[in-house]
C-alpha cells in the first residue's frame, strides 16, 4: 500500500536509523532507532513523497515477559521483510534482547492517502524517548497518556503530567507487572455515622 514510505526512509536514513521494516495486513511498519525518532518523523512529515501531515495515534506496548522468547528477535509476531524480499530495505537486524517497551506511532498522509506505523523501542532501565510535540502538536496528550499508564518519559515534553489517573496515584497501571488487584483509593467511608 505504501511501500514508497519505506523506500523513502531507506533511501534517506542509511546509517542504521531504521532497524527493521516490514509489511503486515496491508500496512507498512518500521522500527526506528531511539536517537533518530525526531529526524525520522520530521522527515516523514516534510518529504514531498511521504507528506505525513496527520498524526493518528501514539501509544505504548509493554512486552514484559516476551524478552526471552527463543529465536524471536522480531517481537511483533509479524513476518519481517528480510533483505532478500526487499533489497531496498535496511539490512541491519537488531541483536540482543528487544527493549521492554515499544512506543507505537501511527501517522497518515491526507493528501497522498497512505499511512505507516512506527515503533521505537524503549528500555526498562531508561524508559525515555524524545517528544514529538514539535513535529505533531497533537501528540501532546497521547504522550501524557503513555507516560501516565506506562511510565515512558518523553524528553522535552512541555507538560508531562498524568492525564487519566489522579496525581496521587503511584505507579503505572498498564505495565504488565502492575498488580491486577491493586487499588489506590482516594476516599473511603469512615467508621462512624455512615
Amino acid at each position: 500500500m505504501a511501500q514508497i514510505v519505506l523506500d523513502r526512509l531507506a533511501a534517506r536514513f542509511t546509517d542504521g536509523e531504521i532497524l527493521e521494516s516490514g509489511s503486515a495486513h496491508g500496512d507498512e511498519w518500521a522500527r526506528v532507532r531511539r536517537d533518530a525518532w525526531i529526524p525520522v518523523t520530521m522527515f516523514l512529515r516534510e518529504d514531498p513523497a511521504t507528506k505525513m501531515e496527520m498524526f493518528i495515534d501514539l501509544t505504548c506496548v509493554d512486552r514484559f515477559g516476551m524478552r526471552a522468547s527463543p529465536g524471536g528477535l522480531n517481537p511483533h509476531g509479524l513476518a519481517a521483510r528480510g533483505p532478500s524480499a526487499n533489497p531496498s530495505a535496511p539490512t541491519e537486524v537488531p541483536t540482543g534482547e528487544p527493549p521492554r517497551f515499544d512506543v507505537v506511532l501511527h501517522v497518515y498522509s491526507v493528501s497522498l492517502k497512505h499511512r505507516v506505523r512506527l515503533y521505537c523501542g524503549v528500555t526498562e532501565e531508561d524508559p525515555s524517548v524524545d517528544t514529538l510535540v514539535s513535529v505533531w502538536p497533537g501528540t501532546n496528550w497521547f504522550e501524557r497518556e503513555a507516560y501516565d499508564l506506562y511510565g515512558v518519559r518523553f524528553k522535552g515534553h512541555p507538560d508531562l503530567r498524568r492525564i487519566l489517573m489522579y496525581p496521587e496515584f503511584v505507579g503505572h497501571p498498564l505495565r504488565k507487572d502492575y498488580p491486577k488487584e491493586k487499588r489506590q483509593p482516594l476516599v473511603r467511608r469512615q467508621a462512624g455515622r455512615d
Binding site: L164, M165, Y166, E168, P173, Y178, K180, E181, K182, R183, Q184, P185, L186, V187, R188, R189, Q190, A191, G192, R193, D194
Partner: protein
C-alpha cells in the same frame, strides 16, 4: 385502657410524606444514564411515584441516584455531593457498576459506590430494565416508610432513640464493609472516634 399515644404515629405520617416526594439528584456517569432517561421519560414515568424532578443541586435533593460506573478518581466528588445533601437523604445504586463495580475489576474502578457513600437500595442490571428501577424505587419507599434508611437511622441514633441495628451495615476502621453483625455502629452525637468524613488522599485511614 384509656388513651394510648404512639410517638411513632407522627413519624409514620412524616415518612409517608417523604416517600412520595423524593427529589432526586442523578449522578450519571455512564451508559446507564440512557436507561435512567427512559425511566424518567413519560413511558415509564417515575413521576407516578412522586420522584418527579431531578434537582441538579445536591442541596435541593434528598435522593442520590448513582447511575453508572464510579471510578476511584470520582470518589471524592461523589462523597462531597452526598455530604452536601440535606438530611434525611437516601442513595440508590443504579446498575451493577454502581452496586459492585460490575464487570470492571481493575485499577481505576471503584468496587461499588458503597465504598464511599451508604447505599440504601441496589438495583442490579447492565443496565437495569426500567421496571427494575421502579421496583427498586418502591423498595426504597418501603424502607423510608419503615424509617430504615441509613440517614434516617443515623438521625434517630443522634437523637438517642433506639434504632433497628440490623439495618446498619458496619464499617471497620479500614473503611471496608464487614465486621460483626450488630455493633454499635452509630452512637450519640459527638462520639465519633475517627473523626468526620475525610476527603482526600488518605486512603480511608483516619
Amino acid at each position: 385502657m384509656g388513651f394510648e399515644f404512639h410517638t411513632s404515629s407522627l413519624k409514620a405520617a412524616v415518612n409517608w410524606a417523604r416517600k412520595f416526594s423524593l427529589f432526586q439528584y442523578p449522578f450519571v456517569t455512564a451508559c446507564c444514564g440512557m436507561e435512567f432517561m427512559s425511566v424518567a421519560a413519560p413511558k415509564y414515568d417515575i413521576a407516578r411515584f412522586g420522584a418527579e424532578f431531578p434537582r441538579f443541586s445536591p442541596r435541593q435533593a434528598d435522593l442520590l441516584i448513582i447511575v453508572g460506573t464510579i471510578t476511584e478518581r470520582q470518589g471524592p466528588a461523589l462523597r462531597r455531593i452526598y455530604d452536601q445533601m440535606c438530611e434525611p437523604k437516601w442513595v440508590v445504586a443504579f446498575g451493577v457498576c454502581a452496586s459492585t463495580g460490575g464487570f470492571y475489576q481493575n485499577y481505576s474502578t471503584m468496587p461499588g459506590a458503597d465504598q464511599v457513600v451508604p447505599v440504601d437500595v441496589y438495583i442490579p442490571g447492565c443496565p437495569p430494565r426500567p421496571e427494575q428501577v421502579l421496583d427498586g424505587l418502591m423498595l426504597l419507599m418501603d424502607r423510608i416508610q419503615r424509617g430504615e434508611g441509613h440517614s434516617q437511622i443515623a438521625i434517630e441514633a443522634e437523637r438517642g432513640y433506639d434504632v433497628p441495628l440490623a439495618a446498619i451495615r458496619p464499617i471497620d476502621k479500614m473503611g471496608t464493609l464487614g465486621g460483626s453483625p450488630n455493633p454499635p455502629a452509630t452512637g450519640p452525637a459527638g462520639q465519633n472516634p475517627s473523626g468526620s468524613h475525610a476527603i482526600g488522599p488518605t486512603g480511608g485511614k483516619p
